[in-house]
């Protein structure tokens, strides 16, 4: 996973000359969105939400999903499952061992004992571009 998004904070100084802002020496460190959004870089991948069945949990068509394969899914986590040859976004019902769609149109999928890798990973974060990014025009369609 190579996403390098460095945001350098802008220092707002009050126009006082003579004293350097005490924060000046820290400004070079910057903030990395990777640091905030990604916990296990080598086990994480990005995907693009396609469809609106997960609107109820706050995931919309065109959102970027950050999927972590290293974490164990917990009850009602948003997960990505491999189903019918596709990656599908589902809710994990741990109690009844099944995958739910947030939309009523789709029946739940039962997870059998042999399906330990049916769940591809946990959607730990999602990103929505409210204005299209210059790198990604997918969010606008």
């Amino acid at each position: 996973m190579v996403i390098i998004l460095i945001v350098t904070p802008i220092l707002i100084e009050a126009g006082i000359s003579g004293f350097e802002s005490p924060a000046a020496e820290y400004s070079q460190l910057g903030l990395s969105l990777d640091q905030l959004l990604i916990d296990h870089p080598q086990a994480t991948f990005l995907g693009l939400a396609n469809g609106d069945s997960m609107n109820q949990v706050g995931i919309y068509h065109g959102d970027i999903l950050i999927v972590d394969r290293a974490v164990t899914p917990r009850h009602m986590d948003v997960v990505v499952a491999t189903y019918n040859g596709n990656f599908s976004c589902k809710l994990f019902d741990e109690n009844q061992r099944r995958l739910l769609s947030a939309s009523e149109h789709y029946p739940p999928i039962n997870i059998g004992d042999g399906d330990s890798f049916l769940i591809e990973g946990v959607v730990i974060r999602s990103i929505r571009c409210h204005r299209a990014s210059r790198f990604s025009d997918v969010c606008t369609d």
Binding site: M1, V2, H40, P41, Q42, A43, F45, L46, G47, L48, A49, N50, G51, D52, S53, M54, I59, H61, I64, L65, V67, R69, A70, V80, T82, G85, N86, F87, S88, C89, Y106, F117, E120, S133, F135, S136, D137, V138
Partner: protein
């Protein structure tokens, strides 16, 4: 103890990571320019497809059998390899990456930490699959060569289910007896024929030879292999790590090339790649081979070659490209449909040990080259380059079956259905 971990048919496995639809299908991956088959997964192998065969020979067969065909997507493989290596590195403080899809781990003084190497190996295998979706096999043994042998057993013998450990004499004999001698690390095809002639067929036969006799009849390297097969460690990381003795940069064209300028641009591009590799490993080239050829499948295959010997060994892109440009006139023949070109740095000299010549002065400009490498390192390959490399590369690779650039392009992220 040492472990050798490698991915099962790495390139085809990489193709399945972001494409669950093909996870249980037969898959092959083609080399640069879609010329040859370079990777075959187990299912495709079972259908009778093998590696190193020109693709056009089995194209029809692949279509009929429903085999998934992919061009090699090195950007993707490099990213997934880095992830895989990083996951594996958590299992030991001493990792040596041997190639894009295999690495060694060394467990020194781990007896208090790991009491069961078999279950440790299974844990490595499971974690790598969990986090990267790449299937790997793990071989563990008291020497690197035995770890390699255990890995071979883990891969080829079903009963091991991907993890084999040589931790006693019985298993060592079993595994070596089930392994033909050509599969032993460091034993090539020529040597195999020689060994077979001396009635050595299995790895166990080889291990039983007296080491001194092996040194007399073969070489000190093979003697070390024999010792390693008997559990005596002789190979050290820093020896395996030695810089490459030769550097090649070659490729076939996407379309046949008939023009001299295009041929020159392509060769200069390879020259620039080779020059960068030379600088990376701090070597100088003394003898350069420049070649251009038509297809070996043409009715009248043509191979043109020219050796250039540098009076002063160099790793300067400008100096190397000048030598290439001089050679073009002798290589080019009008009317020949050129198919493949390349550069080989045949004789390398370590920069540190180069003895300067009193009368021949170097034309290298190390500062300029350092600057060039830094700019390209920061802004991407060929951000800045010699004009001789050309701008519009009509001869670029053909990659007809290329999978999307899932990990390198925001527009190619895998789709996750919310339907």
């Amino acid at each position: 103890m040492y472990a050798l971990i490698d991915a099962n048919s790495f390139y085809t496995s990489c193709e399945t990571v972001f494409d669950p639809l093909i996870r249980h299908k037969p898959i092959i991956v083609l080399t640069n320019n879609d010329g040859c088959i370079c990777a075959v997964n187990r299912l495709a192998k079972e259908l009778g497809i093998s590696k190193f065969v020109p693709y056009f020979k089995v194209k029809k067969q692949c279509q009929q059998l429903g085999i998934v065909v992919r061009s090699s997507n090195y950007e993707l493989y490099a990213d997934l390899s880095a992830n895989m290596m990083q996951v594996i590195s958590r299992f030991s403080d001493d990792q040596y990456i041997y190639s894009i899809d295999e690495c060694f781990l060394y467990f020194n003084n781990y007896h208090n930490v790991i009491n069961d190497f078999k279950s440790y190996g299974r844990q490595i295998r499971r974690t790598v699959y969990q986090e990267t979706r790449l299937p790997v096999c793990v071989g563990i043994g008291p020497t690197p060569t035995l770890a390699k042998a255990a890995n071979h057993a883990a891969k080829s013998l079903k009963k091991y289910v991907g993890v084999a450990v040589i931790d006693n004499e019985n298993i060592r004999r079993q595994i070596l007896a089930a392994m033909t001698v050509d599969k032993v690390w460091g034993i090539g095809r020529k040597l195999t024929a020689k060994l077979n002639a001396a009635n050595v067929y299995t790895a166990l036969d080889l291990a039983k030879l007296p080491p001194k006799l092996v040194r007399q009849n073969f070489s000190i390297d093979i003697e070390r292999t024999v010792r390693e097969l008997n559990g005596e460690t002789c190979i050290r990381w820093d020896e395996v790590k030695q810089p490459k003795q030769q550097i090649y940069s070659t490729r076939s064209f996407g379309q046949r090339v008939f023009e001299q300028t295009q041929l020159r641009e392509a060769l200069c591009q390879h020259g620039a790649i080779a020059a960068k590799k030379l600088r990376q490993q701090q070597s100088l080239v003394a003898t350069l081979m420049i070649f251009a050829a038509s297809s070996p499948f043409d009715e009248r295959p043509i191979v043109r070659k020219k050796l250039h010997r540098f009076v002063v060994p160099t790793n300067d892109t400008g100096v190397i490209l000048a030598a290439i440009s001089d050679a073009i006139a002798t290589l080019f023949i009008a009317g020949v449909p050129f198919y493949k070109v390349g550069i080989g740095c045949l004789e390398l000299i370590d920069e540190k040990y180069w003895q300067h010549d009193l009368f021949a002065t170097s034309n290298d400009n190390p500062k300029l080259m350092q600057c060039l490498d830094e700019i390209n390192g920061r802004y991407g390959r060929d951000a800045i380059k010699n004009a001789a490399q050309g701008f519009e590369q009509k001869w670029a690779m053909r990659r007809e079956f290329l999978s999307p650039n899932y990990t390198n392009d925001w527009r190619a992220l895998p789709k996750i259905h919310c339907q």
